[in-house]
Subunit: 324 residues, 2 copies
């Protein structure tokens, strides 16, 4: 019901996202055979890693897998409308020095087939199908923004599958969204529906604060974001944003005692955000840290939703230490 | 006024503290000439560092200074009723590997002469007199609990003196104390007025959560706490607790726009607490991080007021990295 009233906003947001991607060379991802569990792609990096595919339960998942084999692989769950190309190469490559990193398009996103579910429970099930299809029995899990909501749900569904959890810029069910329609913060609604020239400047507003320091970090991020020039992912269809926004609404309205479900996530967890996250309010990271049984919290100064990109070097060190 | 109504509680707390210290060998600190700026005490550690004295403005300050000269010295501001002996040796020695650490009894505390002021502004002035008396022109500053309130005030008073700031288990003016009398949390009042056998078990309740893991860390802390067996500090007089509690009341009731003064603390700041600090509520660390212009926040899991003692190894690494 909430979703119905915010349909206009969500479509506008979808449009803004499509526009933001319009300047990118949107070529079909190359096809390659998956090599689950046997990746020796240590010479690959974020900007040249092969896009692979694996099919299960009727979904053909696009993914990339690279880094140093040995420790458990780290599986990434992406933010609102993000694809394989939206991760910060500095973070991926920094983490890939000590383990394999696995990024993927969930069902219906980018080059993956299938429908985007309208709940994080549905997206979590699809992510589990993907992880199972790679033959992995135990992984570390990272989720950013709505990806962190999906990561919580995966951990609840399949506790034996998840070793450690990293939750970045995300929120528990019943989060604080400032009373925003559909449990989306007013700032998010206004940032995603504005126009930007060039379009990718959207991310300067989504991920960084208005300070000169943070904006400068944002421009460095955009350079890294564009540094993969070949074999980029497909853009998201216009079905992605509305479905993901519906899922946010369902997550925010979840019934029951507030935050009680978090006690069932017993995995060591690292919670990370910026001191001034306008997209997913920072206080939600405090709620996570205070209600998860074993969570460490790090907040970065003068930073918004993209705090871990702004402080990518520190984040990589913290995460590598945490995952050891 | 607030203080008057809580006088009984504060005296009880003072009593509890005196009892907690009764089992310690309370000998007078040895006298030694101060050697400001020329310390070569790198062979000294927390458990054997000489207690020195320096006199200024009619106050004879007891202090210890040791560690590796080179970087700026780090000056520590102590918690409620704490003395030179209450710092965790693991933290002091870990930080002393990369700089000199300076711990001191503020006026009227332990072996220092003078009166304990009833405001943090007064205590800050005395701390500034002490730092000036050592001839130091620039220092890094650490404050724990009420010491963190004093450290904020020192930084406001003397911004040119302070390079970087570490605030542990502390709060801004107008903090959230759960509506507790005199701006002291209900848990603090109940923990400090209870009796413990042996008395030092008070610190297991003040600094650690009730979980087995945290209590085990607490017992390790108590071993370290008692590891200095010679030349311990003098116990605190019964004037210390009431004055310090009055200062908490004044700090909590400070008029004006909430947290606005924090924008004037421009130093890079590291804010540290536990996810479940019952003595100074954890949310106050979020307030600090969100209102200081340049503050990073770290919260440790399953940890209360003594989070940095429970995770001393991680804290030392984080602080050494931050102070670089």
């Amino acid at each position: 019901m909430k979703f119905r009233t915010s349909k206009r906003a969500s479509l506008a947001a979808a449009w803004a996202l499509t526009a933001a991607f319009a300047s990118l060379p949107a070529v079909a991802a190359e096809n390659a055979m998956p090599a689950p569990g046997t990746s020796k792609a240590s010479s690959e990096t974020a900007i040249n890693a092969t896009t692979r595919f694996v099919e299960a339960s009727g979904i053909r998942f696009a993914y990339r897998r690279f880094g140093k084999p040995g420790q458990l692989p780290l599986v990434f769950n992406q933010h609102f409308t993000g694809t394989l190309d939206n991760w910060d190469p500095a973070v991926l490559d920094g983490l890939a020095k000590e383990r394999e990193v696995i990024i993927f398009d969930n069902a219906g996103v980018g080059a993956s087939t299938g429908e985007v579910p309208t709940t994080f429970a549905g997206m979590a099930k699809n992510a589990e199908i993907f992880i199972d299809a790679l033959g992995l029995k135990k992984v570390d899990l990272l989720g950013f923004s709505i990806g962190g909501m999906i990561a919580q749900q995966i951990t609840l569904d399949r506790p034996e599958l998840i070793h450690k959890l990293i939750l970045v810029g995300t929120a528990p069910r019943n989060m604080d969204a400032g009373g925003g329609e559909g449990h989306i913060t007013p700032e998010t609604a206004s940032i995603f529906t504005a126009k930007y020239d060039p379009p990718e400047n959207l991310w300067l507003k989504v991920f960084f604060t208005d300070s000169e320091t943070s904006q400068a970090a944002g421009r460095e991020f955009l350079k890294r974001y564009f540094s993969r020039t070949k074999n980029r992912d497909l853009p998201v269809s216009d079905k992605v944003a509305p479905a993901q926004m519906a899922a946010v609404g369902e997550w925010g309205a979840h019934p029951g005692e507030r935050f009680a479900y978090l006690k069932d996530i017993k995995q060591p967890t690292l919670v990370v955000s910026g001191t001034h996250d306008n997209i997913v309010y920072t206080v939600n990271s405090l709620y996570l840290a205070q209600n998860l049984p074993n969570a460490k919290l790090i907040l970065y100064p003068d930073a918004s939703h993209g705090a871990w990109y702004q402080y990518n070097s520190d984040f990589v060190a913290q995460a590598n230490s945490f995952l050891k």
